[in-house]
């Protein structure tokens, strides 16, 4: 019996897409293609996009949109909704609507900044681990394993106790902790690309690490990274809000949605929904981002989810 190794990997070309002498038609690229995708987008995706744009608009033009100053005391505390104060006033007599609008700038801004930093750290190290491999990969992976062995919120609480709750510290701590997740993903998808023959071609040509990482691997993992950016934004948003709610995130008097819930929570026991508006704002933005990510994943996975 001269049977050799178990079955070779099934040959993709044997049952793949039609291979004819005629090539598939050229596709459209660039802005026109992007516009087309936008028009073709499902309703949920469009809704998500509109909501996100509204939030961005609010964040940018907060000083113009807000009727009062961010920390300005404008009346008695806990006033009802009125024409002067559409959402009433808070525990210190500040205008709730104004605080909501500035909250968009502060909470979303800090989250966005943190997410960007998370990606710079996580994607760079993940890409490095995948492209170099060997000891570099082993070392980075073991460090990440250990960091991930402590539940994130708990670790964040511990570090915030030690280093204090200033905004730079908050951003840095959350970014470092969340970047472990981005590292894992980047490394995993990067590994799939590194084993491709075209990466070997580049290495055989004599290309340096920079070219391999930046030109061969990175362009091919952009879509999963983009989706991860959306998801990671949501997680970081919820984490920072939770920390603020616990009194350990953005510090007063900065207007922030998580802290606003905590400061005015007492009203809830009187059956008033107003203190929950900031929380609802958080939920709506998170849902919107998730809708966009879903649409994007659906698009790039080639409808793998439902046949």
């Amino acid at each position: 019996m001269t049977e050799s190794t178990p079955t070779k990997a099934a040959d993709p070309a044997l049952d793949g897409p039609a291979d004819t002498l005629e090539p598939p038609p050229a596709r459209i690229h660039g802005w026109r293609a992007a516009w087309r995708e936008l028009v073709k987008a499902p309703l949920t995706g469009k809704i998500g996009l509109v909501i996100v744009l509204v939030y961005i608009f609010t964040a940018i033009f907060a000083p113009v949109l807000a009727p009062y100053g961010e920390t300005e005391v404008v009346g008695k505390q806990f006033q009802q909704w009125s024409s002067a104060h559409p959402l009433g006033t808070d525990n210190l007599g500040r205008d709730v609507l104004t605080r909501m609008i500035y909250g968009a700038r502060n909470t979303v801004g800090v989250t966005f900044l943190t997410t960007c930093l998370t990606f710079v750290i996580g994607a760079a190290t993940g890409l490095l681990a995948a492209a170099v491999g060997g000891w570099t990969d082993q070392m980075l992976s073991r460090i990440v394993d250990v960091l991930m062995a402590i539940p994130l919120l708990i670790f964040a609480l511990l570090l915030l106790t030690i280093f204090g709750t200033s905004i730079p510290m908050l951003v840095l701590i959350v970014a470092v902790l969340e970047s472990t997740r981005v590292f894992r993903l980047t490394r995993a998808v990067g590994m799939n690309i590194v084993v491709m023959d075209y990466v070997e071609v580049a290495k055989l040509r004599g290309e340096g690490l920079g070219w391999v990482m930046g030109r061969e691997v990175l362009p091919n993992i952009l879509s999963p990274l983009f989706a991860e950016f959306g998801l990671r934004f949501c997680f970081i948003f919820l984490l920072i809000s939770a920390l603020s709610f616990l009194g350990l995130g953005l510090q007063p008097p900065t207007a922030d949605w998580g802290s606003m819930v905590r400061e005015n929570a007492i009203l809830i026991t009187f059956g008033d929904f107003t203190p929950l508006l900031p929380a609802a704002a958080i939920a709506v933005l998170t849902i919107a981002v998730n809708l966009i990510v879903d649409w994007f994943l659906h698009k790039t996975s080639g409808l793998r989810d439902d046949h």
Partner: protein, 545 residues
Amino acid sequence: MTTNGNSGPAEPLLQIRGLRIEGQSQEIWQEIVKGIDLTLQRGEILGLIGESGAGKSTIGLAALAFARGGCRITGGEVIFDGEDLLKLPERRRRAYRGKRIAYVAQSAAAAFNPAHRLIDQYIETAVTHGVMSEKQARQEAVELYRQLQLPDPETFGQRYPHQVSGGQLQRAMVATAMACKPDLLVFDEPTTALDVTTQIEVLAAIKDTVRKYDTAAIYITHDLAVVAQLADRIMVLRYGELVEEGNTRELLENPRKSYTRKLLAVRGLRKDEERGETSLLTISNISAAYARSAMVLRDVSIRVPEGRTVAVVGESGSGKSTLARVITGLLPPLEGSISLRDQVLPATLSARNKDTLRRVQMIYQLPDTALNPRQRVRDIIGRPLQFYLGLTGRKRRERVKELLEMTELDERYLDRYPAELSGGQKQRVCIARALAAEPDLIICDEVTSALDQLVAEHVLRLLLRLQRELKVSYLFITHDLATVNAIADDVVVMCEGRIVEQGPKTEVFTPPHEDYTQILLDSVPEMDPDWLDRVLEERKTVPAA
């Protein structure tokens, strides 16, 4: 319309009429099977042959009234034993599947459930359909395992799928399909993923079984020589349409359509060998191994003359691809040396300079993974020009166009991404990229085995022409002896990391052979319906080595 016995004296077992199937690609439904008619008598074996995209597997599955995800049956009838299966509800179709029509998949390793023993997966069909008791099914399983010449038939079924080799697993799948003694078996490329020496065993097992139980079968493959061994009748398909249909012998001897003739002639390409005087690449006494594993190459010495082609032949696990990694410096050898002209190459990739790297280029098996999907053709071919030769701007553009012309590609593909090219075109881009470096040696690793046969032939002709014009040498790694015949001057036969035999092509291919070369040569199917029987007969009389 359910019973229609006018077509012949006996009612056919399976009759497919006007079958139409659509497949979804990029959210658009396109017809991939365009009105196929098919008739199969009891006990008859029908071969479905075609290149990829012919729709043959889709038709095979439609015989079980099944369509894969992303496909849908839009029209026609599948009348099995007088009943149109397409009109039946899913619940009643189940009564046919497995019991009266059984399916043998291409990859047995993927089609067996990893969590259950082989015999449990065998008896499940018979018991669920209420054909026999579990006890009886177990006895019959052992009987079938014995008949299919599986080792230790009494205990074979106790194993899990991962504990069994590829060829054995494929035979176990045939046994499983036979559990209910179905009237019809659908074989979907059952030997395509196997080595040639394993393929012949599986083919023999299939042929024996089908004959013994007088089962009708649909045999799907892209290889005309394989189907010729089994089929009574052959249907040639292309783009979901019938090209030609006929009795096996008639079709092979007297094909009517030019497409069929091309398919038949596909293995006929042959290069007249030439002797090479000056050595380009000299590999001396190379031994190599991957970290912490057994030796993959042992004492390998090969000489590649200038402007000539040396083919390295062997089955999976023979070490032929490892050889390529050693030459390119990806895997430094444990012993031995490699020199290009008179210059000894540093063992590791990092120790080689740009010019050394430029002189040895490589082309891969799967052009899909060898081309970066995010780079345009102009950048793929342009990069080596810039990197090695310092060409930029207009000079680089002009040279890229020249290279496209050399590889018979139109200029309008310059700005396309790989996904917008066909398989053959992608491989041409890979060739152009290798040529851009103006190399002395190109290592070709199974460059045609993922392509359809006709496309592969075009690529081989292109490589031959380029060699004549540019005097470049090829080290051609392949498992396919027809490819060797088409392109090689010298041949090296490898088995389990050693060189079994080497020399000029005609010498190696004419007797007397080494034992292994003999087995290898014998196992390559020929376009002769009697080939399999003849070889099996010879092997019985001459005990195998």
